[in-house]
C-alpha cells in the first residue's frame, strides 16, 4: 500500500499495519501531531498513563502477557528520559517494546531547545536499537524495521525518535514488507539450530545419569509452542526441570518433574540438582549471577548444553560444552523429533537413583515457614491468594523485593505469559503499571500485582489510570512497613543496622484507594484473609489490598552472596547467628 500522508498519520497507519490494538502514552508538545491523529481514528486504543515510566512498564506487561510487542508513546525531553528505566528493564528481560518519542523540530536539534534531550544518545545503551528519523520518507521503513528488530532474535526494546516537523511533513507511506528478515541488510538472527549439534545433545542426554533441565525466559519468549515442546521433552526424557524467575510457567508448577525455581531464593532441590548433576541442559537462560552464585563452584562436575538465540550469551559467564544457537522452539522441535526417531531413552537405573536423591532433597522442605495463628505470614498470604485464584484466568505481576520472591516460590504457575516480573533490572514500581498493561490486553482476566508497601509507592499514581480506563487491577500489598529485602540484607551484611529501610508514615492504603476512586481493603488477622481475598476478586474496580503481614520475616531459602549452590541457608537453620555470619567478607561486596 502506497499513499501520501503526514508523518503523524504514518505512525498510526504503521502501528495498525503491525497489528497493534493498544498503546500506552502521555502527550506533550513534541508529539501533539500524533495525538491529533489518535483522537481522529478508531481501532487503536490509547491508554493515558500518569507518568511515562508507567507507560513503559504497562507496555511491558502487555507484551509479556500477550507475546506481542508493547507500544509506548512519549514526548521529547522528560517524556523520553522518564522512559529510560522501562527501556532498560525491557532490555535486561528481553521484552519486545516499541517506544515512539517526539523530538524537537530538526532545525532546533542541538540547540538546547525547550524539552530537548539527546534521546537516541541517552537510550543507545538501553535499547536493542534506536533511530532518529530526520526525513519523513524514511519514517515508514524505520517504523516497520523497529517492529522487526524488537520482535526478532532475542527480543528487546527499540526507540523511534521523531522530530515534530517530520510529524507534520507529508511523504509516501509504504506498508510492511512481507519477509522483513530476508529484506534486512544486516540483522538476520539464526533461528534454526545446527542439526549435528542437536543430535549430539540428544546423545548426551540419553547417556546422562544425573540430568537436569535449566530453563529460562527464552522459552516464554519463543512462544506457547516452545512451552508445549518443553513439556513434551520432559515427558519423553523424564528429566527433572527447574527454571529461572523469568521462565516460570513454561513448565507447570504442578508437573511431576518440577523442582521449583532455582537460584538465590530457589528451592534446595533445584539448587542441589544443579550442583550435583552430570548433565545440565540450559534452555533459553543466561547463567545470571542470581542463578550461578559463586561461578568457580558452579555445578563443578557437569557437562553443559546451552540453547540460546543470542551467541553472546554463550560462554559469557559459564563455559559450556555444547552450545546450540537458535530459537528455543525450533531447537526443541528438532530435539524432540530426533529423540523420538532414534528411540533414545534416558538411562533408567541411573536416573532412578538420581530421582531418589532429588526426593531426599525435596523432603528437606526448603520453603517451610513457621505458621502463626495471630499474625499473617507473608508466605501464607501468597498461598491463600494462589488457592483462591488458581482456577481463574489469572495474571500475576510483582514489584521487586521479598514479596516478589515469595510470589515466585508460593504461587504456582501452570501456563506461560501469566507471570510478569522485573527480573534483570529489579525495578521497584514495575508491578502496578505491568498489571494495567496485562489487564488492557485481557479485559476478562484477573490481574493481580503482588506488591510491597515500599515498591507500590514508586508508581502508585497509575491507580488513576486504572480507574479512568476501567481496568480493575488488584494490588495485593504485603505490608510489613519495611523495605523487606533491604532490611534482610542489612541483617545479613551490616549487623542489623536498619539504615533507612523502615518506612514511617506510610499512607493509609484504604483511604488512598478511595481517594483514587478504587476500593481499599485491609486485613491483619489470618482468619479474615480468605474472605477479604474473595471480596477483592468480586469487586469490579481497582483494589488496594493492605495485607498486614509479619514485619520481620526473612525470605528463605537463600544462597548467600559469594556462596555456591550447595551452601544454602535453609529456613530451619537460619537463626540470628547463622544469618549474621552467612556472608563472608568477599561476599559482602557483591550485590
Amino acid at each position: 500500500m502506497t499513499r501520501e500522508m503526514t508523518g503523524a498519520e504514518m505512525v498510526i497507519q504503521a502501528l495498525k499495519d503491525q497489528g497493534v490494538d493498544t498503546i500506552f502514552g502521555y502527550p506533550g508538545g513534541a508529539v501533539l501531531p500524533i495525538y491529533d491523529e489518535i483522537i481522529q481514528q478508531e481501532g487503536l486504543e490509547h491508554i493515558l498513563v500518569r507518568h511515562e515510566q508507567g507507560a513503559g512498564h504497562a507496555a511491558e506487561g502487555y507484551a509479556r502477557s500477550t507475546g506481542k510487542p508493547g507500544i509506548a508513546l512519549v514526548t521529547s525531553g522528560p517524556g523520553a528520559t522518564n522512559m529510560v528505566t522501562a527501556l532498560t528493564d525491557a532490555m535486561l528481560d528481553s521484552i519486545p517494546l516499541v517506544c515512539i518519542s517526539g523530538q524537537v523540530p530538526t532545525h532546533l536539534i542541538g540547540n538546547d531547545a525547550f524539552q530537548e534531550c539527546d534521546t537516541v544518545g541517552i537510550t543507545r545503551p538501553c535499547t536493542k536499537h534506536n533511530w532518529l528519523v530526520r526525513d519523513v520518507d524514511d519514517l515508514p521503513r524505520v517504523l516497520h524495521e523497529a517492529f522487526y528488530v524488537a520482535t526478532s532474535g532475542r527480543p528487546g526494546p527499540v526507540v523511534v525518535d521523531i522530530p515534530k516537523d517530520v510529524q507534520f511533513a507529508t511523504g509516501t507511506y509504504q506498508g510492511p514488507t512481507p519477509n522483513p528478515a530476508a529484506a534486512h541488510k544486516s540483522y538476520r538472527p539464526q533461528v534454526k539450530g545446527d542439526a549435528a549439534s542437536i543430535r549430539k545433545a540428544a546423545e548426551m542426554m540419553a547417556a546422562a545419569k544425573r540430568p537436569v533441565l535449566y530453563t529460562g525466559g527464552g522459552v516464554i519468549n519463543s512462544g506457547p509452542q516452545a512451552c508445549q515442546l518443553l513439556r513434551e521433552l520432559v515427558q519423553l526424557t523424564g528429566f527433572p526441570i527447574t527454571s529461572t524467575l523469568m521462565g516460570l510457567g513454561a513448565y507447570p508448577a504442578s508437573g511431576e518433574n518440577w523442582l521449583g525455581m532455582l537460584g538465590m531464593h530457589g528451592t534446595y532441590e533445584a539448587n542441589m540438582a544443579m550442583h550435583d548433576c552430570d548433565l545440565m541442559v540450559c534452555i533459553g537462560a543466561r547463567f545470571d549471577d542470581r542463578i550461578t552464585g559463586r561461578t568457580d563452584a558452579f555445578s563443578p562436575n557437569s557437562r553443559k548444553i546451552h540453547i540460546d538465540i543470542d551467541p553472546s550469551s554463550i560462554n559469557k559467564t559459564i563455559n559450556v560444552d555444547l552450545p546450540i544457537i537458535g530459537d528455543v522452539g525450533h531447537v526443541l522441535e528438532d530435539l524432540v523429533r530426533i529423540w523420538r526417531s532414534s528411540s533414545l531413552k534416558s538411562g533408567d537405573a541411573a536416573t532412578k537413583s538420581w530421582q531418589a536423591q532429588i526426593d531426599a532433597w525435596r523432603a528437606r522442605n526448603s520453603l517451610a515457614y513457621k505458621p502463626n495463628q495471630d499474625i499473617i505470614m507473608p508466605q501464607y498470604a501468597i498461598q491463600r491468594l494462589y488457592e483462591l485464584t488458581k482456577h481463574r484466568k489469572t495474571y500475576i505481576s510483582t514489584e521487586v523485593g521479598q514479596h516478589q520472591m515469595w510470589a515466585a516460590q508460593f504461587y504456582g504457575f501452570e501456563e506461560p505469559n501469566r507471570w510478569l516480573t522485573s527480573g534483570g533490572l529489579g525495578t521497584m514500581g514495575y508491578g502496578l503499571p505491568a498489571a494495567i498493561g496485562a489487564q488492557a490486553a485481557h479485559r476478562d482476566a484477573l490481574c493481580i500485582d503482588i506488591a510491597g508497601d515500599a515498591s507500590i509507592l514508586m508508581n502508585i499514581q497509575e491507580m488513576s489510570t486504572a480507574v479512568q480506563f476501567g481496568l480493575p487491577v488488584k494490588v495485593f500489598i504485603l505490608n510489613n512497613q519495611y523495605m523487606g529485602m533491604v532490611r534482610q540484607w542489612q541483617q545479613l551484611l551490616h549487623g542489623n543496622r536498619l539504615s533507612h529501610s523502615y518506612t514511617d508514615s506510610l499512607p493509609d492504603f484504604v483511604k488512598l484507594a478511595d481517594a483514587y476512586g478504587g476500593v481499599g481493603l485491609r486485613v491483619d488477622k489470618p482468619g479474615d484473609l480468605d474472605g477479604a481475598i474473595e471480596e477483592m476478586i468480586a469487586v469490579d474496580k481497582p483494589v488496594l489490598f493492605d495485607c498486614r503481614v509479619a514485619n520481620l520475616a526473612n525470605c528463605f531459602p537463600m544462597i548467600p552472596s559469594g556462596k555456591a549452590h550447595n551452601e544454602m541457608l535453609l529456613p530451619d537453620e537460619a537463626n540470628d547467628e547463622a544469618v549474621a555470619k552467612a556472608i563472608s567478607a568477599e561476599g559482602k561486596s557483591l550485590v
Partner: protein
C-alpha cells in the same frame, strides 16, 4: 548476530581455557550511518572492554559501508564475548577476529599498518641526525623549514613506536597517528 557470521559450534569450545591477556585485531563492516561509531565505542566503555586503537573510514561508498578496525586486549573468553556483543549491534554486518584468522592459517599476525605524522624541530647535529634516521626508517619529509621537519612514516605499530622514541631526544614536537588498519594475508576478503 548474523547467521552467516556464526561459526560452526566447535568454535565455541574453549578446549584450553586460557586466562592470559591477549591482543587481538577485530575488523567490522558497518553501515555508515549517524551514531554507529558511538554504538561501537559505547559497547566497549559500557562493558568495560579495552580499546588500544581504533580506525574507521567508509570503504564501500556505493553501499555506505564503513570498516572499523579495533585493536583490543583481554582473555580469549572476553575477546570472544566482544566479538559476539559487536555482532549483536543492528548496523553491524560482519565482525571478524583477524588475529584468530591468522592463527588458523598458521600465520603470525594479520597484516597491520599505521601511518604517523611526526614533527621534529631543532638545528645543527640534531637536525642532521633526525634526517638521517628518517631516511633509515624510510620516513618521508612532507614539510620542512630551516627549523623543523614533518616526517610521514608508515609501518607496524612497533616500528612507529621505535621511530618516535628515537626522535624524542632529537626535538620531537608532536605526533599524529592513524591507528591500525589491517587485512588478513592471502587472496580472501572479510
Amino acid at each position: 548476530m548474523n547467521a552467516q557470521n556464526v561459526d560452526a559450534p566447535s568454535a565455541y569450545f574453549l578446549a584450553e581455557v586460557s586466562n592470559e591477556i591477549e591482543t587481538h585485531t577485530l575488523s567490522l563492516l558497518v553501515d555508515n550511518e549517524p551514531g554507529v561509531l558511538a554504538r561501537v565505542i559505547g559497547l566497549f566503555s559500557g562493558r568495560g572492554y579495552n580499546i588500544d586503537s581504533l580506525t574507521v573510514s567508509e570503504t564501500e561508498h556505493e553501499k555506505h559501508l564503513s570498516r572499523i578496525t579495533i585493536v583490543t586486549t583481554g582473555t580469549p573468553m572476553i575477546i570472544e564475548q566482544i566479538r559476539h556483543q559487536l555482532d549483536r549491534l543492528v548496523p553491524v554486518h560482519r565482525v571478524t577476529d583477524l588475529t584468530v584468522r591468522a592463527r588458523r592459517a598458521n600465520q603470525d599476525k594479520p597484516l597491520e599498518r599505521e601511518l604517523a605524522l611526526i614533527k621534529v624541530a631543532g638545528d645543527g647535529d640534531k637536525r642532521l641526525e633526525a634526517l638521517r634516521l628518517g631516511d633509515a626508517f624510510r620516513a618521508t619529509v612532507i614539510d620542512a623549514t630551516t627549523d623543523h621537519f614533518v616526517f610521514e612514516i608508515t609501518g607496524r605499530t612497533s616500528k612507529i613506536e621505535q621511530f618516535i622514541a628515537i626522535m624524542k631526544p632529537l626535538g620531537l614536537v608532536e605526533v599524529s597517528r592513524t591507528g591500525v588498519a589491517a587485512v588478513q594475508r592471502g587472496p580472501e576478503g572479510l
